[in-house]
């Protein structure tokens, strides 16, 4: 039962993270780049910034968040590698 709920929670987390992954790269950096380029901040056109800087910062935040959140979820669902000896 723990394993099943752990897997379901994992899938939800992955889906959320991949949604953000898609929006910042394919959304902001490619599909809507021209719209976002009308906005400028600090010397960057926003769409261009997402394509060459911003998407990578968000990717980084995503993978660290995923790793931390999963480590916590392993414990919550009792499937942590250290306790189970599995």
């Amino acid at each position: 039962m723990n394993k099943r709920s752990h897997w379901q929670a994992n899938l939800r987390l992955v889906a959320g993270c991949l949604g953000v992954w898609f929006v910042v790269s394919f959304g902001c950096g490619v599909l809507f780049v021209d719209v976002l380029n009308r906005v400028t901040f600090g010397g960057f056109k926003l769409g261009f910034w997402f394509a060459q800087q911003g998407s990578m910062y968000v990717f980084l935040a995503l993978v660290f968040y995923y790793a931390a959140r999963m480590a916590a979820m392993d414990r919550e669902h009792g499937v942590d590698e250290d306790d189970a000896g599995a």
């Binding site: 752990h6 950096g29 800087q53 990578m56 980084l60 993978v63 660290f64 499937v79």
Partner: protein, 579 residues
């Protein structure tokens, strides 16, 4: 000390370091040889992965490609980092949980089939040899440009060093040399980037300098760059020329291809726990992003420097262009190597650098008395000549040479190791001679690593004419064959042996067919490589993403009409889904 001697010293010291590490980390077992005994700390593995991944192309060519492509260069930045999100979330933790040695081993076991395993081995070998040929070439080029030795001699030295740590140390040796190589290459990349940022904008951090004001005039770097390149008939730096659909699919194919590259995936087999595999993927992306967020800044700064050096006055003014006999020293140096070439088409003794392919600008240029673009600049010059253009001290130039070699050697070693593991573990031990002893297998592994080095050296010395073309092939194949097979193996219990094999073959043949059709590998292209002939406007570089979708569709359809996989499969899948 002369620059050449200094370069020898710096490169020699870095080699001594790598060989020293090799002797301290000899592999004693197949576990050491294939996966470094699964004892690698996640942060160290992150660094090793970054060095493993960042090749001569990332180090030497990427900033230059972006400098000349502008926004269109974003496909490499997003594609080659976004793949790590897929790797961290969808593949790495589960493959680590599976707990064996190679990627084909997972495919063979999950699809209960030696045939699937052999198909995976073939994909892996094609992808990896394609890639390694480019790396060995990179080693030879850096040697010949910085040290004035023959490309062949440079290659032999590089092969010797890789031989030491890959054959003796296996994965264990490679891991710790890659950690050292990462430190060398990131230092060598960052130092000139910081200097050039300071010079142009007064801001030390390249990622911030990218959006800063250029010292004189208060204009922002990118605004100024857009202005001066459009004045010369080029498209604006921050706008692209590629169609949106093509940018989308190239980015997608590079992301999925990155996540499906066996030499990257296998690095996550080396950490002690599933949790470490997740963390390690995050660290790897951090170390990669240090270079990848710097590269576009370097590209923009260097493009500005190069353009304003040539076009130092108003466009069209008779004295607005650089006089050839007053060209700076770095111009002369790089002319000697052939990376810069000048041809005085209108005979005015000055250099005109503009876009002569732009019909709208042609009349204007004609009016100035210009008779065509006179400067050919190789994109590699952006990183290689940067320290000289910026007037940096000699030790920085020596460092860039050592960094380029580190980037090429670390990637080559990782590729050679997955090739040798596929041969000794998947083919020899897994299919041909199952009863082979561990000592025997280790010996076969070492012999195949040595043979792979020889083949790679040969490919580096006599690069087949299509090396540049087949890079698209390597990513396309990884995206269309290995990535979907692994992903379905984890996230579906229903996809079975015939489905997986049919899917891999369909993805593989479609992708190879499409690339050969337009790029012609071994044969002449069948169709001109122009957007009007492409499927849905997708270029051969982006077709791997379509190949992946085709793989999914075929795998699901064939699995649905054939028998369910045996009971051992759902059990295996459930096991790898939980840490």
């Amino acid at each position: 000390m002369s620059l050449e001697l200094l370069t020898y010293v710096v490169v020699g010291l870095s080699f001594a370091l790598y060989v020293g590490i090799a002797f301290r980390t000899r592999a004693g077992s197949t576990g050491d040889f294939y996966v470094a005994g699964k004892h690698v700390h996640p942060v160290a593995n992150g660094m090793a992965t970054a060095a493993d991944w960042m090749s001569a192309a990332s180090f030497i060519s990427m900033a230059g490609i972006i400098a000349f492509l502008g926004y269109d260069g974003s496909v490499y930045l997003m594609g080659w980092t976004g793949g790590y999100v897929l790797l961290a979330l969808l593949l790495a933790p589960y493959l680590r949980r599976f707990g064996k040695f190679t990627v084909p081993e997972f495919i063979g076991e999950r699809y209960y089939s030696d045939a699937a395993r052999v198909v995976a081995v073939i994909c892996l070998i094609v992808i990896s040899f394609t890639y390694v040929a480019g790396q060995m070439r990179g080693v030879g080029i850096v040697f010949s440009r910085f040290l004035n030795v023959d490309i062949g001699v440079g290659l032999l030295i590089g092969m010797g060093v890789v031989f030491c740590y890959a054959v003796l140390g296996g994965m264990k040796g490679i891991t710790y040399t890659q950690v050292a190589q990462y430190c060398v290459l990131i230092f060598a990349y960052t130092v000139p980037a910081v200097f050039i940022s300071l010079q142009v904008t007064g801001v030390a951090v390249p990622q911030l300098a990218f959006g800063s004001e250029v010292e004189a005039g208060g204009e922002h770097l990118l605004t100024k760059l857009d202005r001066i390149v459009t004045d010369l008939g080029f498209s604006a730096y921050t706008d692209g020329e590629k169609a949106t659909v093509d940018v989308f699919f190239i980015t997608f194919a590079l992301m999925v291809g990155t996540a499906g590259l066996p030499h990257v995936i296998v690095r996550f087999f080396t950490v002690p726990k599933v949790r470490d595999a997740r963390a390690s993927a995050a660290w790897a992306l951090l170390f990669i992003a240090l270079l990848y967020t710097t590269a576009p800044a370097v590209g923009a700064l260097a493009r500005l420097n190069l353009t304003t050096t040539i076009q130092h006055g108003p466009v069209g003014a008779p004295d607005g262009n650089l006089r050839y006999d007053e060209r700076p020293q770095w111009f002369r140096t790089w002319e000697d190597t052939g990376l810069l070439a000048f041809e005085d088409k209108n005979g005015d003794g000055r250099v005109q650098y503009y876009n002569d392919q732009n019909p709208d600008f042609a009349a204007t240029a004609e009016g100035f008395g210009w008779r065509g673009n006179e400067l050919q600049a190789d994109r590699d010059i952006i990183v290689l000549a940067n320290p000289e253009i910026a007037g940096l001290p000699d030790w920085v130039i020596a460092l860039v040479a050592a960094g380029g070699i580190a980037a090429a050697l670390s990637t080559a070693a990782g590729l050679l190791l997955v090739i040798s593991a596929a041969i000794s573990h998947d083919l020899a031990k897994g299919v041909l001679a199952r009863r082979m002893s561990e000592r025997r297998e280790l010996l076969v592994g070492r012999i195949s690593a040595a043979c792979a080095i020889l083949v790679a050296g040969h490919l580096g010395y006599n690069p087949p004419g299509f090396v540049a073309e087949v890079v698209a092939l390597a990513f396309g194949l990884a995206a269309a064959s290995l990535f979907p097979a692994i992903l379905l193996g984890i996230f579906s219990t229903r996809v079975n042996k015939p489905g997986a094999i049919a899917g891999m073959l369909a993805g593989l043949l479609f992708t190879i067919g499409y690339i050969v059709c337009f790029k012609g590998v071994f044969v002449a292209p069948f169709l001109p490589n122009e957007p009007e002939h492409w499927l849905l406007g997708i270029s051969p570089e982006g077709i791997g993403g379509v190949g992946m979708l085709l793989n999914f569709a075929v795998a699901f359809t064939v699995s649905a009409v054939t028998a369910r996989p045996p009971d051992s499969v759902p059990a295996l899948v459930r096991r790898i889904r939980t840490p």
